[in-house]
């Protein structure tokens, strides 16, 4: 649902010099969050990249908590808070973080920190507070107000494909924002900005924040659900007729369900999903959201629901309508064959005879730069496009050879890289842990590593007897401090 701007209040706000409203409540609701972070070096997974700093804004919530966009806490090594955008900087710690909905809570143990701060008044829903939207940021120790015009609500993807949650586009004159700036209507916060592109910010709406805060206060955080279906539209009359529909086509055609996901084994390929949680699904996979208008159906799983809730689905199956129950499950990125994210976890790896193996994930692929999808080697691109969401019981993860540290011991293999491991000493491999175990069982005095066909040889032969010593010597030579890191 689009809302029109009432521009005059915003213009009035803009006309005021920055800092001219020290009495605005936001002065006591908004803190600066300075984060020192250090990402893992994806090529050299035992070491980290250069430390860097970033700054976002945190909004004071009841209970001495500070709400921030989760992405700003990725790989954090030090988090500090500043009141009024001025020193002193106070150490903070993460109370809770949910990367899937992009929200996190900080606090500090510094006595008295919250004494002269006031929790923000959070609206129940983003759209309920009129139309005079503006956002607030600290800039150069002064509060800065920027007008915001409601543009559009969209369902966004998270770090888990098909995990949908609502975000609101606002057109704004804010510059370099999208860093957690609260968006207000009057004195009530209706969301926080999570990103900015040009003059458009994307805002996490109040209802999702409310749901997140509520979940955090539960005895056990339930996480949000993911429907986990792949579908195609059902717009055409011919397709609809084929599945037994008469009249106007409705619903969507289920093509597959994510293995072990919410709908796996419940919704079936060639089902037409007609209704979910009481919402009629149209032929393009949208439903009528009570406040936002037509939204993608993946939003149903997160809008007012948590993992563990059961959604009722009406489907057309074998030309007959039937009702099924879909128990919502949360799906972590690690459930994918090639995980799209690895939130705050270092990459598992193994150094063996100078060969560096690690688990294949999208953070590794992103090491090819901004245009990584085009720049990665073709075999990895094919795997990522065709199989990233398709783990099997036998293959939960792919192991990639990233590099070979040259040594006499591994002569003949120095140019190898980006090969996917198939087996070690005859044992199929889908984790670093399995690799480590397989190297304990050489074949007739040799370690035999087989790769999926790709670049270079698909079979590496190493002498087993000197393997341990050679690995240690190579690690010493190249200053590799640790031989292995397993998944937690």
């Amino acid at each position: 649902m689009n809302k029109l701007l009432l521009p005059f209040l915003s213009l009035l706000l803009l006309a005021l010099p920055a800092g001219a409203r020290p009495d605005h409540p936001a002065e006591y609701q908004l803190v600066t969050v300075r984060v020192t972070y250090q990402a893992w070096n994806e090529y050299r997974p035992w070491q980290k990249a250069k430390p860097r700093n970033r700054t976002c804004l945190g909004t004071v919530m009841p209970g001495n908590r500070i709400l921030v966009p989760a992405a700003y806490l990725d790989d954090a090594t030090l988090i500090q808070l500043e009141k009024f955008d001025r020193p002193p900087r106070i150490p903070a710690r993460i109370v809770h973080c949910d990367n899937q909905v992009g929200l996190a809570i900080l606090t500090t143990d510094e006595p008295g920190f919250f004494d002269n701060l006031k929790p923000v008044d959070l609206a129940e829903t983003a759209d309920a507070e009129g139309e005079d939207f503006y956002c607030v940021a600290w800039k150069s120790s002064q509060l800065t107000f920027s007008s915001c015009r409601w543009s559009q609500v969209k369902v966004f993807k998270s770090s888990v494909p098909y995990f949908g949650y609502a975000g609101i586009y606002f057109i704004t004159d804010l510059k370099s924002g999208g860093r957690g700036e609260p968006v207000f209507s009057g004195d009530r916060m209706i969301g926080i900005a999570r990103s900015q592109s040009g003059n458009r910010i994307t805002v996490i709406p109040a209802e999702l924040i409310q749901a997140y805060l509520h979940a955090v206060d539960l005895p056990e955080y339930p996480s949000f659900g993911r429907l986990g279906i792949d579908y195609q539209y059902n717009r055409g009359k011919a397709q609809a007729a084929h599945f037994g529909q008469t009249g106007a086509p409705a619903g969507i055609l289920i093509r597959s369900c994510f293995p072990n996901g919410s709908a796996d084994g419940i919704l079936l390929p060639d089902d037409i999903l007609l209704e979910l949680d009481g919402h009629a699904i149209n032929s393009q996979g949208d439903y009528l959201h009570p406040r936002y208008g037509l939204m993608g159906l993946n939003l149903i799983a997160t809008d007012g629901h948590y993992a563990g809730d059961v959604l009722t689905a009406k489907v057309l199956r074998n030309k007959e309508e039937t009702t099924v129950e879909v128990p919502l499950k949360n799906t972590q990125p690690s459930a994918a064959l090639i995980p799209a994210a690895r939130p705050d976890l270092p990459p598992p790896y193994l150094v063996a005879g100078g060969f560096v193996f690690r688990e294949l994930d999208v953070p590794y692929l992103k090491a090819w730069g901004k245009d990584w999808e085009n720049n990665i080697p073709p075999t990895l691109r094919i795997l990522n496009e065709m199989r990233s969401e398709s783990p099997t019981p036998e293959q939960q993860r792919l192991i990639v050879l990233t590099d070979v540290f040259p040594d006499d011991y591994n002569l003949g293999y120095h140019e190898m890289a980006q090969n996917i491991v198939k087996s070690v000493n005859g044992r199929s491999i889908d984790s670093i842990r399995e690799m480590e175990e397989a190297f304990q069982h050489p074949e007739d005095g040799f370690h035999v590593i087989e790769f999926l066909p790709g670049y270079g040889t698909s079979k590496v032969i190493l002498d087993a007897a000197p393997f341990k010593d050679a690995t240690a010597a190579i690690m010493e030579k190249y200053q590799i401090p640790t031989r292995i890191r397993l998944n937690p």
């Binding site: 086509p249 003949g412 270079g456 698909s458 079979k459």
Partner: protein, 487 residues
């Protein structure tokens, strides 16, 4: 290191080329300019007339009063004109034979009388490194003959860009080779040592010519009146620089070779070799652990040996299998699926238009219609199918594939889910791998709907058969499509 596909052929040079005896003539008298008025059909709109234009190249007269030039000079020709030295008269010609895999072609004049007195150039052998050569031709479309001198700077197996899938022996020279030089002779001591054919924009003052070994292979292939092309060894092998790998393979001290990693189904090697065989010699040439053989005083990739043979010839291979020594013979044959993976020329595209859906075969030309960066941007199932599976999957039998590349919007199709650039699996329950299969499955269907299932993602396309039949002609007329098919 893996060894890519090799296209072999050729009998030894001295045995196959008919040398022209006689007094030395001036080279320039034998060099011709070729104007190609081309017509290149569109694979995206295959019913259209195609793009027309003209291109210039060079050629030269060889034995039998034939004109030798590059395939890329005369590809897609609608009209060919040949100009002789100091003669402004255009002489119509035709392509008598063309080898896109080696970028060579033979032209014949419509009226052979003009060529009767033109001296035929003789061939020599592979020129030594650092020896001096002169290129002749008509670069940049100039009217007058140009010649440039340089030295032979490198001889190696390189990619031939015309087909995009082949690599053969190539000679690099610093004699300038520019557009228009293509097809011209490279001369040493009055004899031909190669045919100028391609440059490299990343290298300054460097051009490449096709050596006589490749020319000879082409001419020998043509002796039976048709060009078969280079056969395919169909073998991928790993180097054995690793001492551990050699011991694991049971090789004795001093033995060298390479390990068979993959055999392409349908090629000659598949019938006699096995995965993990160690090839110690090929065609009598001992194979080093790095996969090279000593050939004409140079160390070149072992594929150079097969590259000298013609389709149907056999290649003796010594190998170690399960630690025992043996010899086998590989009969070389042509790998038919390779053509679809190459740049295609001189072809009227295959297609079928039904209910606004344009069905086309999967080949390099149709996949190129996706975008300029098709390797990265096209659905990867196509890239995988075309360029990886046959090299990686031992059980994969390379076969034609068919897809929908366009939808011509009409009420009958515009609301239906239609997927372009995706591999079709079945149409109306029948497996389809060619456009002809699609035609048969569509036209033989009497059910209410046409059901088109795709190979990946469980995607489905449905059309109402009666409605589609009823509007098919209307769509063809609306989109100015004169014929609904070219099979």
């Amino acid at each position: 290191m893996r060894h890519r596909i090799r296209f072999c052929g050729a009998v030894l040079l001295a045995l196959s080329i008919q040398w022209t005896a006689g007094a030395q003539a001036r080279v320039e008298d034998s060099v011709v300019k070729i104007m190609n008025q081309y017509n290149r059909f569109s694979w995206y709109a295959p019913w259209e007339s195609g793009a027309t234009g003209s291109g210039m190249g060079s050629g030269f007269v060889i034995s039998g009063k034939r004109i030798l030039t590059n395939a890329h000079v005369v590809s897609d020709s609608a009209m060919l004109l040949v100009y002789f030295y100091n003669d402004p008269t255009p002489y119509p010609a035709r392509v008598a034979a063309i080898g896109h895999d080696c970028d060579l072609a033979i032209l014949e004049l419509a009226d052979p009388s003009r060529i009767a007195e033109v001296p035929e150039l003789e061939f020599d052998a592979l020129p030594p490194l650092r020896s001096r050569v002169v290129t002749y031709g008509y670069p940049a479309g100039g009217k007058l003959l140009s010649s440039t001198a340089g030295v032979v700077s490198r001889i190696e197996v390189k990619d031939y860009v015309h087909s995009g899938m082949d690599s053969h022996l190539t000679v690099q020279t610093d004699a300038a080779i520019n557009p228009g030089n293509s097809g011209g002779p490279v001369i040493q001591d009055g004899k031909v040592v190669g045919v100028a054919f391609q440059g490299n924009q990343q290298l300054e003052n460097m051009g490449f010519f096709i050596p006589v070994q490749v020319v000879d292979h082409f001419l020998t292939d043509l002796k039976d009146g048709k060009y078969d092309g280079y056969p395919e060894l169909g073998l991928f092998a790993a180097t054995l620089d690793s001492p551990a790998a050699r011991r694991y393979a049971g090789m004795k001290e001093g033995e060298t070779g390479i390990r068979v990693e993959h055999l392409i189904r349908g090629c000659g090697a598949e019938t006699v070799l096995q995965k993990d065989d160690i090839i110690t010699s090929i065609g009598g040439y001992p194979v080093a652990n790095d996969g090279t053989v000593e050939w004409n005083g140079m160390r070149l990739d072992f594929g150079i040996v097969a590259d000298q043979l013609q389709k149907g010839e056999t290649l003796p291979v010594e190998l170690i299998r399960a630690k025992g020594r043996m010899m086998v013979e590989i009969e070389l044959n042509h790998y038919n699926p390779l053509e679809a993976k190459s740049n295609l020329y001189d072809i009227k595209p295959t297609y079928f238009v039904y209910a606004g859906l344009v069905f086309a075969p999967l080949n390099r030309e149709t996949i190129k219609t996706y975008s300029e960066k098709w390797v990265q941007e096209a659905p990867q199932e196509l890239v995988n199918e075309m360029y990886f599976r046959y090299l990686e999957d031992n059980d994969f039998a390379d076969a034609p594939q068919v897809m929908v590349i366009r939808r011509l919007d009409h009420e009958v199709n515009v609301e239906e889910m239609l997927y372009t650039y995706r591999l079709l699996d079945t149409v109306n329950g029948k497996t389809v791998r060619t456009v002809a299969d699609v035609v048969e499955a569509i036209e033989g269907n009497t059910a209410d709907q046409h059901l088109i299932r795709l190979q990946h993602g469980n995607r489905l396309m449905v059309l109402n058969r009666e409605e589609a039949d009823a509007v098919n002609t209307e769509i063809l007329e609306k989109y100015a499509i004169p014929k609904d098919r070219n099979l």
